[in-house]
């Protein structure tokens, strides 16, 4: 039985929460009549119990890290420690207003300042802004810093170079920031094609956005040369840090010559992904970009007092309200403190080891498009299987659901056909990783013996594949109320 809509459970007179009567008497009308709402919104009228049951039952329809192996490449779906949730929710953090003065918020500021420092050490860059709300937001912020720097120097540069294997946010961020993204080819080894890159380098280039390790899970071995090349024409190197999990305490973007990098806390630093967010995308930048950072930044004075600095003439301003995703950042701080430098290094080692091991186990099941050592993730291609059986990466993905495993990232990066990008992470056990390989083999067998089983997968979920074409044709984006109001149709209500 599918869980009905909350709107179908609505019945006049029911309530989930009541508020006290006002204790203020004899007030004149509070607001002029024409400003008042005449038609109330059709929010559901339901009891608390109905809401609790609804959300509890719906939650069971989700796969999650807490319930399933979730080797979603590029997303680093690792375990989210519960202590971090608990600490970030402490009253002393949760109930702080963003405009409280520094003196009354020393606890949070101390955490944020230390996190800035930690991220600087991890990335090897000297300055940090915690403001961006997610990875893409960090990309945008950093590109705006580049723009500000060039504006400050009266240089006109309008191009941002981006490899073809890049994540979609890279070109999108470049465009939103007002730049023209230009694509750089990859070699058949899956790395930046240095020839192509050189051909596109010019004084109009403001910078390059490079993911390293890249989205194929490969380390860009030429990264230092790329940095030099860019710098030689006065352009900047931006590192998309989505894959930092592979290189924590192993190698640092700052040491490659990068000018800026973002960190996805919700990947590398294990803040939970929440079904789509929130994350945080702090950036670290070089000394010359520091003065352009958004405000506020957290500073520590000689007397051991932490404060938010809001001034700075050259700051780009701000990319969001208030300080940043503070609640998320506290979790990230806790995570780094729990691991320490040695632990961070072990994270990277184990993440890479798991991927390498799993890749080895998968090599004869599907195709490995690239032979180079992978880092924390690797891509498989189902092209041959598709030719042989008509079974696509999509079908494999859906069939995995029947085995209780969340599918890898599909059809990304775009440079590989029928791609499945697999990232086991350091928090999944050998036994489960072995099981994944076994299941994948079984599915490939099924593709040969019973392809229909895969075309029709999944079989064990509450729904089969949704008709996405129909959804997009005339999108049904909200509940349709019946003309007569009382919506109650649902028993589970």
């Amino acid at each position: 039985m599918p869980e009905p809509s909350i709107f179908n459970k609505s019945a006049e007179g029911l309530r989930g929460l009541r508020f006290p009567e006002t204790d203020i008497c004899d007030q004149p009308p509070l607001l002029p009549k024409h400003m008042l709402r005449s038609k109330p919104p059709r929010l559901p009228a339901v009891s608390e119990r109905t809401v609790v049951r609804h959300l509890t039952l719906l939650s069971r329809e989700n796969f999650s890290v807490d319930t399933n192996f979730y080797p979603l490449g590029s997303c680093t779906m690792k375990y989210n420690p519960r202590i971090n949730e608990k600490l970030a929710d402490l009253d002393g953090f949760a109930n702080m207003h963003p405009y409280q003065d520094d003196e009354s918020s020393q606890g949070t500021l101390e955490i944020l300042w230390h996190l800035q420092e930690m991220l600087q050490h991890i990335t090897g860059l000297p300055a940090c802004s915690l403001q961006p709300a997610a990875g893409a937001h960090g990309e945008l912020t950093a590109l705006l810093l580049f723009a500000a720097l060039f504006r400050d120097r009266d240089e006109k540069r309008s191009t941002i170079l981006i490899p073809d294997s890049a994540h979609g946010t890279n070109p999108a961020s470049a465009a939103i920031a007002g730049f023209k993204p230009v694509q750089v080819q990859s070699t058949d080894q899956g790395l930046v094609d240095m020839q192509d890159l050189k051909s596109k380098i010019s004084p109009d280039v403001a910078g390059m956005m490079l993911t390293c390790p890249n989205t194929l899970g490969l380390f860009e071995t030429d990264v230092a040369e790329i940095a030099d090349l860019l710098h030689s024409v006065g352009a900047k190197l931006y590192i998309d840090g989505a894959n930092l999990n592979a290189i924590l305490a192993i190698t640092r973007p700052g040491d490659w010559g990068a000018d800026a990098v973002h960190i996805n806390t919700h990947k590398t630093l294990s803040t939970p992904h929440g079904g789509g967010g929130p994350g945080a995308g702090p950036i670290c930048v070089s000394e010359e970009l520091r003065e352009f950072l958004p405000r506020p930044v957290v500073e520590l004075d000689g007397a051991g007092f932490y404060h938010l600095r809001y001034n700075g003439d050259k700051s780009i301003g701000r990319v969001r309200g208030f300080i940043g995703q503070v609640g998320v950042l506290i979790r990230a701080y806790c995570y780094v403190r729990s691991l320490g430098p040695a632990g961070l290094r072990e994270v990277a080692q184990d993440a890479v080891l798991s991927a390498r091991y799993l890749r080895e186990r998968c090599r004869d099941i599907l195709q490995l498009p690239y032979e180079a050592d992978c880092m924390h993730e690797f891509v498989l291609s189902a092209t041959r299987l598709k030719e042989e059986t008509g079974i696509r990466a999509m079908d494999i993905a859906k069939r995995l659901l029947d085995y209780g495993i969340h599918p890898p990232t599909m059809y990304f990066p775009l440079t590989v056909d029928e791609a499945l990008m697999i990232e086991p992470t350091e928090t999944e056990r050998l036994r489960m990783i072995d099981e994944f390989a076994d299941v994948l083999r079984k599915i490939v067998d099924e593709a040969h013996t019973n392809p229909q089983l895969l075309h029709d997968a999944p079989h064990t979920r509450s729904v089969s594949r949704p008709d996405e074409a129909k959804a997009a044709r005339n999108p049904d984006l909200r509940f349709t109320f019946r003309p007569h109001g009382d919506e109650e149709q649902a028993p589970g209500a």
């Binding site: 509070l30 702080m96 999108a172 920031a177 967010g277 080692q349 509450s462 729904v463 909200r478």
Partner: protein
């Protein structure tokens, strides 16, 4: 180390299977000279018990709202958070899942998303809503880009009665683009309609206003929207979702894009984030909308099913032509807002809104009677107002703090000329006794 899944024995087994003798060989593709040889200057690992003691001590160094009587607002408010929200939103199945790209493994999140979209559409009186943006501030920038995209025009007017951080954010987003941002001075705490009228032209993509505005005043939105439409521009209005329990909704006055900060909908203040940007608009502009969308459709067996839709608007498909670069959004905050609005219903929302308005009015009236204090603006306000003091605001606030009262936000923070003004916000949590204490503390 905590959180790692495999034991040393397992590690050895795996290394052997991939033909390596030592973990360092895993990183052979990292050029030798790029390998980090140092020791990160980060404190060594601590155990959960130590972390817990350490971080709790830091939390105790803060002075959170619960320990004080709190009148700060300006976009982040101390509203009551219904108790059912935490245990549900923190269920591992919501907390630890990814963006619902795999629909069959994400019907839970997807249905919540669809219901959230409906709730926001209803709340704002608009046709459709997206499934969240980073926050209410960046939502304004997204709206400006969207309006420019729809109208193919390049001028963005913003009233300076909008929150100054929103204006700052707009500037930051637009400075390197072909769009021009024109801030329009306000008058007596409200958008100055005649000036806006004068600035509206055939290059104006949109006019951005906020109501209740930064100073708490409810704008004359209907007049404004009519004026904007007359010039062929779009009206973007930033609203306080709680206010919509009482005030006319953007859809009622025919606004084009309604945006706002969803923090008030069951999200703790947590010093600024994570919050929840919401956005609602007309159905005909769905393809210009930034952010994720969930649609109801059918599965192969004809059963109801939910999936993400119109992903061709998004960066992972459309790349540089996407309507926005947003990827990770505020999913879990959306779950909280969905819960909040479902628990309250229209009645509960009306009650909260009325309590806020009534208590704010009472406090304003009582303070206005004190010598040395007056309301700065005369316009009708919702839950927030500007108190003008004879003395400098910081002195007044310091006096209040002695009584355990955080009296509001000194406007000097935003405007150098506003040394004597305090922005005071009153939520339903403030009791009559607390309001009277506020008055009393200034009377003495």
């Amino acid at each position: 180390m905590p959180y790692l899944a495999n034991s040393d024995g397992m590690r050895q087994q795996m290394l052997k299977a991939v033909g390596l003798a030592h973990v360092d060989e895993l990183f052979r593709t990292v050029p030798e000279h790029l390998r980090y040889k140092g020791h990160l200057d980060i404190p060594p690992a601590i155990t959960e018990l130590e972390l817990s003691q350490h971080v709790s001590t830091l939390a105790d160094r803060n002075r959170p709202a619960g320990n004080l009587i709190h009148f700060m607002g300006a976009g982040a408010y101390d509203h009551y958070i219904p108790s059912a929200i935490d245990p549900l939103a923190s269920r591992g199945e919501y907390l630890t899942s990814y963006t619902p790209y795999q629909a069959e493994a994400s019907q839970g999140t997807l249905q919540v998303m669809y219901e959230y979209q409906t709730l926001i559409a209803e709340l704002t009186g608009m046709e459709i809503a997206n499934a969240s943006l980073y926050d209410g501030t960046s939502a304004a920038a997204e709206a400006a880009l969207m309006a420019a995209n729809i109208t193919r025009r390049s001028k963005v007017l913003v009233s300076q009665s909008v929150h100054p951080e929103i204006i700052e954010c707009l500037k930051t987003y637009l400075v390197n683009t072909h769009l021009e941002l024109v801030p329009v001075p306000y008058r007596e705490g409200r958008s100055d309609l005649p000036i806006i009228a004068g600035l509206l032209d055939d290059q104006t993509a949109c006019v951005i206003t906020q109501s209740p505005n930064f100073f708490g005043i409810v704008e004359e939105t209907q007049k404004l929207v009519d004026m904007v439409h007359a010039a062929g521009a779009l009206s973007v209005v930033h609203v306080d979702p709680i206010s919509l329990g009482l005030l006319e909704a953007p859809g009622d006055y025919d606004a084009d894009i309604a945006i706002g900060e969803g923090q008030s909908l069951g999200i703790p203040m947590q010093m600024g984030g994570p919050y929840l940007g919401f956005m609602a608009t007309r159905r005909k502009w769905v393809r210009q909308l930034p952010g994720r969308l969930c649609a109801r459709t059918t599965d192969r067996n004809g059963n109801e099913a939910y999936c993400l839709t119109l992903q061709t608007r998004e960066q992972h498909i459309r790349r540089e032509k996407a309507t926005s670069n947003i990827c990770t959004n505020e999913g879990l905050m959306m779950v909280r807002a969905m819960l909040y609005l479902s628990l309250l219903g229209a009645e509960g929302l009306r009650e909260v809104a009325t309590l806020c308005a009534s208590k704010a009015r009472y406090l304003a009236d009582e303070l206005g009677k004190l010598p040395g204090f007056k309301l700065r603006y005369e316009g009708p306000f919702f839950k927030e107002f500007v108190l003008e003091c004879e003395a400098p605001a910081d002195r007044v606030l310091a006096r209040l703090e002695k009584s355990g009262i955080i009296g509001g936000i000194p406007l000097l923070r935003f405007y150098p000329q506003m040394e004597n003004r305090i922005l005071v916000a009153v939520t339903e949590k403030r009791t009559r006794a607390e309001l009277d204490m506020y008055v009393q503390a200034l009377r003495e």
